[in-house]
Symmetry: C2
Subunit: 212 residues, 2 copies
């Protein structure tokens, strides 16, 4: 099995932290997105969609998309459980994965890709060129602030994102929070005590610390 | 159990078709998005995020997000299997769910919400107002055409979206294709023979026909 990673990008980071929390050792290949390694023919042969993460199985099959990869690893290595123990908990993990991805990740990605000079003509993930839309960067800022408000309010009555236990939903939220901190050049936990309490609790986990 | 649906929106349609394919009978409440029923206090008390689908469990817990709801129903009613029989097939269903949602659904939604007069100041799902961004509608058209090219090429060597068997990934793709047909006022299967073969095969399924 082989994991195509990139230390500077949020999506593969979810998989990397998941692997660390599981205590797995998987052959890892670093793909340097900053030097556009993912747009070169060698990598496009691995994933024509020009994105990481990719998990290559021993029979050559390649899985893309963080949730699919982590779900697959969970089936192969059920313990420690990170995707939920029963139907209800699994549903909450999936629900918060989607809420955080649509409201949080997409918002921050809109800021990064539509404002940063490094992403000119690369406003969307993938091999095709797309122009930046400055209004989208502005909207992303507003939208991400609303997302962190919602998450902070949720964490006022929930210890972890999907309930009383650390799960994949926390990995997802933590990666997006760090992505936001770096991209927006501000700390979303400022003035949001529940978000900060939770962020610090995730950051203190040994696996998270070692794989971040 | 109670399912909050809306016959005119794509997201709850995924759940409605899933329920039909499972042969389940679930109490269904129609929420009229066109008259903004989801923005009224009565519905915001059910889902503050002002979105459908919602699945209300008998103990009062409410699940949002189509994938989470369908996964939950699959755990309760495993047959007929729609989310994948083993780790590999499940991963492919999840992978294609995300690819189709990010590349296809988001693109078409960008066109609809940023161009249609009915969505002025409602360019994003949710209770908060967002202005339309005309450049985003244009980008959405380009992006959705690329998505349908990719899906057509994939279906040249795959009978169904996630492999040799009908799954949730086909429900997802079928709903987005119909959403695109209506929104873009063109038939994405025009000139794409594999996409058309697959679309027609999904449309002919008795459960799909009855619940569409």
């Amino acid at each position: 099995m082989k994991f195509y990673d990139c230390r500077t990008a949020p999506s593969p980071q979810k998989v990397r932290l998941f692997i660390a929390e599981k205590g797995l050792e998987i052959d890892t290949v670093e793909v340097d997105l900053r030097s556009l390694e993912h747009q070169r023919p060698e990598f496009l042969a691995i994933n024509p969609a020009a994105s990481v993460p990719v998990l290559e199985l021993d029979d050559g099959m390649r899985l893309t998309e963080s949730l699919a990869i982590c779900h697959y690893l969970e089936q192969l290595h059920p313990e420690p459980n990170l995707m939920g123990r029963d139907a209800r908990e699994q549903a909450l993990v999936l629900m918060w994965n989607d809420i955080q991805t649509f409201e949080g990740y997409l918002a921050v990605q809109e800021v990064l890709r539509n404002a940063h000079p490094a992403f000119q003509r690369r406003a969307l993930v993938g091999p095709e060129p797309y122009d930046q839309i400055p209004a989208l960067a502005e909207r992303g800022r507003l939208r991400s602030a609303r997302y962190f408000e919602r998450l902070d309010a949720h964490l006022a009555s929930s210890q972890w994102v999907a309930g009383p236990r650390f799960t994949y939903a926390d990995i997802v939220g933590f990666v997006y929070l760090r992505f936001a901190t770096r991209t927006l050049r501000e700390d979303p936990t400022e003035g949001r005590a529940h978000l900060r309490r939770w962020r610090d609790a995730v950051a203190r986990r040994p696996a998270i610390e070692s794989a971040s």
